[in-house]
Symmetry: C2
Subunit: 214 residues, 2 copies
């Protein structure tokens, strides 16, 4: 089995935005409330940030617990890694995720402003100024034969789709409108020329869209 490039648990609004306008340290998703985009995942038993026992074990839980299965590396954009733009003013920033990032694999951060790799727990961050195809080649080589997750943000997913490098996508459409921000697509139908799609409404209110190559 060849290695796949997979988008997983990627949240968008019903009008197609993966993040709002005005991203900052205080507002990583801009004017969007990430709780509205991701409450479906937070309610599940397998949500990695869960601090109390319990949680649902229905449909939504299959998606949260599948997040790391069979994944050997992640590719993300610099805007997912941090709120800063342009050259690094200091290197103290090590991402949003504290000492135990939820990736547990090598992570390749795409940026025009490279910096040295570093390791937090079992996650190592590398910084690449590279094309999507070059980044995917590096990630596959590091993934020990497993699949590669394309972590976002929105711009990075669009770039890899434009380069036709994505094999599967799981997009969770939340029942909210954002009106402006980082747009993933004009319509969920945009991808149907190249992908099959399952539309799976969840009792939680989110709709899971599953795409795989034709």
């Amino acid at each position: 089995m060849s290695q796949l490039l997979r988008v997983q648990n990627f949240g968008v609004s019903s009008d197609g935005f993966g993040a709002g306008e005005g991203q900052s340290f205080e507002r990583p998703f801009g004017h969007a409330d990430p709780r509205e985009l991701f409450s479906w995942a937070g309610a599940t038993a397998s949500w990695p940030n869960r601090t109390e026992p319990g949680g649902s074990r229905g449909l939504d839980d299959y998606f949260t617990r599948d997040f790391h299965h069979g994944i050997g590396a992640e590719i993300m954009g610099r805007n997912k890694f941090g709120y800063q733009r342009g050259p690094w003013e200091d290197l103290e920033w090590q991402g949003w995720w504290g000492d135990e990032p939820p990736f547990h694999t090598p992570v390749f951060v795409l940026t025009h402003h490279v910096r040295p790799s570093f390791t937090l727990s079992d996650t190592t961050f590398h910084f690449l100024d590279a094309s999507p195809a070059e980044a995917l080649e590096a990630a596959k080589a590091a993934a020990d034969g497993k699949d590669v997750r394309l972590g976002g943000g929105t711009t990075v997913v669009r770039e890899f789709l434009a380069a036709d490098l994505v094999d599967t996508l799981h997009i969770a459409v939340a029942p909210i409108e954002l009106g402006r921000g980082e747009r993933l697509w004009e319509s969920p139908d945009d991808l149907l020329d190249r992908f099959h799609r399952d539309v799976v409404p969840s009792p939680s209110g989110v709709t899971h869209l599953l795409y795989w190559r034709r």
Copy 2:
């Protein structure tokens, strides 16, 4: 996290039968055609018996690929292990699955007619004359901290439900009627006094029912 007892990818007809009448070597599911019960799984990319590349990577594939994730042991009934009834006439029978059984863990076969354990590839079959609670204790001890799969057949699932030992169930309801055979339930609503449920229709025609404890 405590160890769960999970029923996974268990196929039933729309009228509640997990197997037909008249099970035999030639007809392991009796008058039922197993292809009608399990075609949804066979069409997926992750189906373990797949001999050609391809296959769907939508909703149904999440269920087939979740089959072995986090599972450290299986419990099954003697009628799932083989077509024979009563005392073993010989011990040459080693199950339906050939030299590479798809379990990859210890498997505990419940039977009044115990026989010595044996190993095929990375699956070891043990034979227990035990109550559901005793079998579950043995399986959990062998599961290395992981969950235990309750593999069926129908009678065994009913016995463990009656003993209130099941934590989650994934039942795939196929759009066929069998009329007679091994009945799992009178109605999918039978379990709602003790379980939450998600009803998830799949584009393949099967309906996935997901139960977890209240």
